[in-house]
Structure formats: C-alpha cells, structure tokens
C-alpha cells in the first residue's frame, strides 16, 4: 500500500509572526522555517503504518518555493521513501494545492493521502477536504486514531462535543490532528540517508494546474494589542476588582 503525504514549509511555530511594515503580509525572511507541525504528525503516522507492515511506500509532496526541498528532506529523514517538489513562486492556497495533489494522486495512485489538518500560517483547515471533494473520495478529518484493515480504514475523529468514528473504503483521504501521535526526531544517520533519497522536481504547469489565487490579500494588519494589566496580591483583591472595577461577576 502506498501513502502520499503533503508537507508544507511554514514559519516555525515558536516564532511570533510579525506584520510587514507596508502591510502587505507577514515577515518570513530570515526566520526559521519548519515543516508544518500537523504534517510532521501525518508523516509520522505514515511511517508507523510502514513499520507495522501495512504500508510499503511513502511519498512526500510539497508545493512551493525551491526551499521547500528542506521540508521534503525532513519528511524523508523521518522515513518517507521519496519526494516530489512541485515548484512555484505563486502563493499557494488550498484550492490550487488540492488541484496539484489531485493530479499527483491520479499519477501516483496512492491508497491513502494523509495531510495535516491545518497549515499554521494560513490557518485554512481546508486542503484535505478539498482534495477529497475533487477526487470524489471518502474523507476523515481531524484524525486522532487510524487503523487500516481489509481494504478499509477506521478513523477516530476529534469533533466539537467529543469523538466520532467513521470507516472509509480505500482509497481515502485523512487529515491528522494533534493527538494522532508524537512525531519522532530524525536521527543523524537518517538525516544523512535522506540526502540521498530521490527528490523529483516538477512544476504545476507539468500537471496542467493553474495556480492563480482566488483570494487576493488587500492588506495585513496587527490585531489590536492587549496591554498587560495589574498584578494583585490576594484573592480578596481580585474578587473586589472583578466585582467593582471590571463588573464581570
């Protein structure tokens, strides 16, 4: 069984994003970039399925600038077998990414695509669902448990009031939530090995996909700043302030 794992290169989650002075976007130049945390979880899940003998090949895919190669090397250091960089300088959005992935799915014919549930830069939470829609395939988003057996995958999903379980016939699309697993650290030997794993480069045009974004960014602004308030010495003072000053209790 073959798994495709789309991985996005994003501003590292430890870095607080700063708005560019001209309001055109968020400053990323010079900051640490990493694999999107949810995609790391998706790669880990694929690797665990391979270690269990369920999966035979893991293909990582990234759509973006040439530097997204680093993200693909990270995925391969964790255990992906090979990767595909779909190189573009155009800003990616879930619809265009889903179209690229659809074309790759038709070419690679994976049994399972495991994506992250959300990219932590655009916070869209859409690509997996859109890919499933474009392909007309079953989907299980926000997965916290994945079990493959007999041509089907049973997925436990995190929903608003608790958990839901669905069963999907393969081929299917899954998006990973935070509690699906804890990703491993790539070991140094595996990082070295990853450098020699195959990395194919293509363009969206090779796949016949138009990347023109549908959403244009008019401006990006800082949210209203919250100011630090006062530190109080006692619970008594807190209750008094909440009652008489803030009037919330």
């Amino acid at each position: 069984m073959k798994v495709l794992v789309p991985v996005k290169r994003v501003l590292d989650y430890n870095i607080k994003a700063r708005v560019k002075a001209d309001g055109s976007g968020v400053e990323t130049a010079g900051f640490k970039m990493s694999i999107n945390p949810f995609d790391e979880i998706a790669v880990e899940e694929a690797v665990r399925l391979k270690e269990k003998g369920v999966v035979t090949e893991i293909v990582a895919v990234s759509i973006g600038e040439a530097k997204a190669q680093d993200t693909l090397r990270t995925a391969m250091a964790m255990g992906a077998d090979r990767s595909i960089l779909v190189e573009t300088d155009t800003v990616t959005e879930p619809l265009s990414v889903a179209k690229v992935l659809k074309a790759l799915v038709e070419k690679e014919k994976p049994d399972l695509v495991i994506l992250g549930k959300q990219a932590i830069d655009d916070d869209m939470n859409a690509t997996g669902q859109m890919l499933a829609g474009l392909l007309g395939r079953p989907q299980a988003t926000f997965a916290s448990k994945v079990e493959v057996a007999d041509g089907a995958v049973t997925v436990t999903r995190e929903i608003d009031g608790g958990l839901q379980t669905v069963k999907l016939a393969l081929p299917a699309i899954i998006t990973a939530d935070l509690r699906l697993n804890e990703p491993r650290y790539a070991s140094l030997p595996n990082i070295m090995k990853a450098r020699k794993k195959p990395l194919e480069k293509i363009t969206p045009a090779d796949l016949g996909v138009d990347m023109t974004p549908r959403l244009s960014v008019i401006s990006v602004a800082e949210p209203p700043e919250r100011k630090a308030g006062v530190k109080l010495d006692s619970a008594a003072e807190l209750v008094s302030r909440l009652r008489n000053e803030a009037k919330v209790i």
Binding site: P94, D122, M124, L134, G162, V166, A169, L215, V220
Partner: protein, 309 residues
C-alpha cells in the same frame, strides 16, 4: 442577494454560534438556512430574519458525514451568492469539500464583512489580520462566532421546506459518536470560562476547578498540554487548533500563555491569570494577575467569592 447558512444544533437547539453566523450573513443579503431534523428546523424557523428553512429529513448517521452534506450544499448553491456556517468541527469538515465541488476557494474564520467580496480573517494564530478579496462568483465562508453578536433565537416565523440528502460518492460509513456529557454551559458561548493548564498536574487536581466554575456558572477549558496529558478530553482545548472563545471573563490557571493558546482566548473581555511564574507570557495579556501557587490561590478565591455572596 440571498445567502444560505448551514446551522449546527444540539438536540434540536440551534447553537448560539450559528446565530452569530446568521448575524454575519444578514450583512450580505436575505438569509435562508439549512439544518438537519424536524426539531432543529422548527427552532430555526423561529429565528428572526430567516426567510426559509431547508430541513434535511435524513437524520441517520449519513447526515453526520461530510460527503453527502457537501454534495447537498453544492446542489443547493445555485440559488445563493454565499454559503456560510459558524466555524465548528462540523462546518470545517463539510464546507471546504462543498467549495471544492463548486471550484471555489473557501474563506475560513471571518471576523468582519467589509463588502460582498471582502472579508477580514486572522492568520498565523491570530498574530495578523488579513483583509482578503475573493474573485470567486460564489463565496464559501466560515464565521468566527465571537466576532458577531448572535441574532435572537425567537421572534421569527419562516417557512420550512424539506430537502433530501443525496447519496454522495459513498465509501464512507458512520460508525459512532461519543459525546462527553456535561451540565456546564457550552465553552464557546459561556459568559465565564475557567481554564486549566499543565500546572493542574493531573486529572484529579483538574477537578478542583469544578467548584470555582460552579460558583461562576462557568464553562471549563484547558490548554493543549492539559489535554495531551489526559487531564481532560480533547473538546476542552482552547487555542489556535482548539476552540476559540471570547467570554466576558476568562480565568487561566497554570497556563503559560503560548501563542497557540492565546490565539483562542485573547479576545476575552477580561482575562485573569494565576501562575507561579511571574515571567509567564500569559501575564502580558491578563488584566489581573496573581503570581502564586494555584493550589493555594484557588481555595482562597472560592472563599472570597462565597464571602462576597
């Protein structure tokens, strides 16, 4: 322009967040709504400003699946300029899939409607607010409920029309849901939220928040660290990838204030932080802070609340 709003409900009661989505939709045009089940349809018909209620008659597990629901939304989309829903696990499962069927790029989590094509949405865990303009003929939007005052639940009298759920592409089977039972108010619409973090130490200690929440009529939330450590179930998580809350009062105990947590609560009107580390970032957004051991402060706080009556 007529707009379709997909509503969430709990046992036939339309969720407050969905009434906020109706408020956002009303800025765009006339509002029709789509909802599952007869009780919810009746409740939806009573919401002022709703013109027509489309009631999905199939209330089986199929109505819980994204595949048929997205197919239905795509079928209905012809009559509408915008399709909206409150941001929720359900809408985030269904709407992007429907958008793909319509060849539309969705616009998630809007906090403002500038005009029919232009919306404001947080990005990077709320560290920036992007104003985006859509070139799509139809818009598929989820609404951050905390940014729009909900319309009232009563006072309207809309017509109800039944719609059948299409089969969808198949391949997906609903097995079960396990919902946590709680007598407390819903996290996302509660007036007061009491949240605990890793500092609560364990599941047993986490229960110490109950008496405080009882006194304040509060919902209980948690940081990701508390959820990951198994102190509470996943649906308690507040933050970038959990629930977004904006109560009148948010009390954070033993939570450091990571950016991903702040993303889910920094629009609360009043924030209180109790943390033993004076440098904890949570204090940078807290209106009132107490530096101290939460296990000492918590009983004192309860005693003071009781005293004050």
């Amino acid at each position: 322009m007529t707009v379709l709003v997909f509503l969430d409900h709990d046992d036939g009661v339309i969720r407050q967040a969905s009434r906020s989505a109706i408020a956002a939709a009303a800025k765009l045009g006339d509002v029709d709504v789509l909802v599952t089940g007869a009780d919810a349809a009746k409740a939806a018909a009573a919401i002022p400003g709703v013109k027509k209620v489309l009631q999905v008659t199939d209330t089986s597990g199929n109505s819980e699946l994204a595949e048929p629901m997205a197919a239905l939304l795509a079928d209905l989309a012809g009559g509408y300029t915008h399709i909206l829903a409150a941001s929720s696990a359900t809408s985030k499962n269904v709407l992007p899939r429907a958008a793909a069927l319509l060849d539309v790029q969705p616009i998630p989590d809007i906090i403002a409607v500038n005009d029919a094509d232009t919306f404001v949405r947080p990005i990077y865990a709320g560290s920036a607010l992007a104003t985006v303009k859509s070139a799509d003929a139809k818009k598929v939007i989820t609404v951050r409920a905390s940014a729009f005052d909900p319309v009232p639940a009563e006072g309207g009298n809309a017509v109800i029309e039944e719609v059948a759920l299409p089969a969808g592409p198949g391949g997906s089977t609903f097995i079960s849901t396990e919902l946590s039972q709680s007598e407390r108010p819903e996290l996302e619409s509660a007036r007061v939220v009491v949240s605990g973090g890793r500092g609560m130490q364990n599941e047993e200690n986490f229960k110490l928040l109950d008496p405080l929440a009882d006194r304040l009529g509060a919902a209980i939330g948690a940081s990701r660290a508390a959820v990951d450590a198994g102190f509470v179930p996943n649906e308690y998580q507040v933050g970038q990838t959990g629930k977004i809350v904006a109560p009148e009062l948010y009390i954070a105990l033993g939570i450091s204030g990571a950016i991903q947590h702040l993303a889910g609560m920094k629009d609360s009107r009043v924030i209180v932080a109790i943390n033993k580390d004076p440098e904890a970032p949570i204090f940078q957004v807290a209106d009132y802070g107490i530096v101290g051991d939460l296990f000492t402060v918590l009983p004192q706080l309860e005693a003071e609340l009781d005293k004050a009556g």
